[in-house]
Amino acid sequence: MTAPAPTLAPYLAVARIGARHTFAARGEAVGRAFFFGVLLLIFSQLWAAVLARGPVAGLEAREVLWYIAVTEWIVLSIPMVHLEIEQDVRSGDVAYRLARPVSYLGMRIAEALGALLARLAFVGVVAAALVPALAGGFPRDPRGLLFAVPLGALAAAVAVLFQAAIGLAAFWLQDCSPVYWIWQKLTFLLGGLLLPLDLYPGWLRTIARWSPFEPLLYGPARAALGAGAVEAAATAGKLVLWAAIATALLGAVARRARRALEVNGG
């Protein structure tokens, strides 16, 4: 008797569970939407005051608010997959999940991607209803939003891959929070979470450009402001490259984690 050829069915099934779980946790979803709204309200007031005398680096208050809406939409939609993996490692469940005929990491990532899609949709609907009102309209070239949506989804998926690798750090550290905090702060800083990278000093912009963080947040958000198809394609290319790097990193860490499990026990 041979095992059936591997299919995507289990991963699609667990992705559906991830999405359903997100919608089932209504309180969490409403809390996320509320936080998004409050944040946008504060920044709309702040940037209206800062840019009252005119645009900076060619950006008006309305555009900065759309920029922040996109970066926050991405950040608030990324599930905490590293915490799920950390919990599995700390409780020892990871060993038991290896008894199934599917990839443990593949299932965890698929579940996170399912949750990610649900969150992107939920926060996206809230953003679509709220941001035009707070910003006083759409960006100058609203077609940019058509690029920003798929780029934002791709960026968040790449972030899931990196965060899964961070979760595996629990095999050696037990608690992967310190690694995640460094990753998160670098994402906020070098990704330009609250401030477009155009406003950064040149040297910091250069560092950001060579990091994975720029295409994770700045790229999709800049696309929303009408950066154009060429720049959007460049961001997509960078994201694909960083997805490949994240996958390779994840594979390498997973192999070492498997060895750690063998040496230290389940």
Binding site: P4, A99, P101, G265
Partner: protein, 337 residues
């Protein structure tokens, strides 16, 4: 006939980090980490025929769970050989996973926040069971095990016993040929334990499923299994039919009498006082010399009882007795049948 499970010279060694106390020790551990080897399983050998129901016993840390993890492909042996259904678990884990099932009493394979039905749907996808066949199998298991009313409630709202019944349904969905059960009745009340034993036994009887069951409760072994393998410190200590074990090591019961007045003296052959206080006495009864009902009758005749319980001795005591017998060469040691 090819054995369902065959193990020869199986060995597993782990490495445990050692940390010195204090700040200086922590720094030293960081600079020059030290570790020591722990032999979890040593030169283990046994063979289980298809359809056999085997209890895998031993005190905490004996190597039971490590062995099950090696047999299910989760861990790779340091040395020796294991074959399950003719497959090498460490090299053919995925192929094997389609043919074995696992129930771990202290873990759950059900999604905590979602109804059990969702996990069953997911497992149907994981084990690639065609939709119509899945529905037929699920409905049959659900009806047979009486879990219908539980399926649509979030798992977090189920009692431990209800959850365990759903876990067993989940583990049988893909019709495993071998079922590994690691402490499936831990933490359950008497009624739930009986239900779980009944389900496991029925599943094995209906489909000829081979069972390898670890437990701390001797009753699990007595009610479900026909053979017992006892290991201690990773080594095989005894491999016997349960009937033989019952005669040799499972012939004691603990009878607890809660009394209104001072506990009566029960002077019968093979009955000794295990502990006593103002209104309670625990009697250790050798059932080969005096049946439990005689002890109960004598206790009731001697004074007014507030409560009475009869229990098996803890598994640790049973294993200790086996180990003591093995130590003084009274025939318990080795794999003699």
């Amino acid at each position: 006939m090819t054995p369902a499970i065959e193990v020869r010279g199986l060995r597993k060694v782990f490495r445990a980090r050692e940390r010195s106390p204090g700040l200086a020790g922590a720094i030293r551990s960081l600079v020059a980490p030290r570790s020591r080897e722990i032999v979890a399983v040593e030169d283990l050998a046994f063979s289980i025929a298809p359809g056999e129901r085997v209890a895998f016993l031993g005190p905490n840390g004996a190597g039971k769970s490590t062995t099950i993890k090696m047999l299910s492909g989760i861990l790779h042996p340091t040395a020796g050989e294991a074959r399950v259904l003719g497959l090498d678990p460490s090299r053919e884990r995925t192929r094997l996973a389609f043919r074995i099932g696992t129930v771990f009493g202290q873990r759950t394979q059900l999604w905590w926040h979602l109804p059990a039905r969702d996990t069953l749907d997911l497992l149907a996808a994981v084990y690639e069971i065609p939709a119509a066949e899945y529905r037929e199998r699920r409905d049959r298991l659900v009806e047979s095990f009486g879990v219908g009313p539980l399926l649509d409630r979030p798992v977090r709202g189920l009692s431990l016993g209800e959850r365990m019944r759903c876990e067993i349904v989940a583990s049988l969905l893909h019709r495993p040929e071998v079922l590994f059960l690691d402490e499936p009745t831990i933490g359950l009340d008497v009624e739930a334990k009986a239900a779980v034993r009944d389900l496991v036994l029925r599943a094995s009887a209906e489909r000829g499923t081979t069972l390898l069951l670890t437990s701390h409760d001797p009753s699990d072994m007595e009610r479900v299994c026909d053979r017992a393998i006892v290991i201690h410190q990773g080594r095989l200590l005894l491999d016997r039919p349960v009937a033989a074990l019952r005669e040799g090591f499972l012939r004691t019961k603990l009878v607890t009498l809660d009394t209104v007045e001072a506990p009566p003296a029960v002077d019968l052959p093979g009955v000794t006082v295990s502990s006593r206080d103002a209104h309670r006495v625990v009697l250790h009864v050798d059932t080969a010399r005096t049946p439990v009902e005689s002890v109960v009758a004598a206790a009731m005749a001697a004074g007014r009882l507030r409560d009475l319980t009869v229990a098996d001795p803890p598994m640790e005591d049973v294993v200790r007795a086996i180990y003591a017998a093995a130590g003084n060469g009274s025939g318990a040691g080795g794999a003699g049948e």
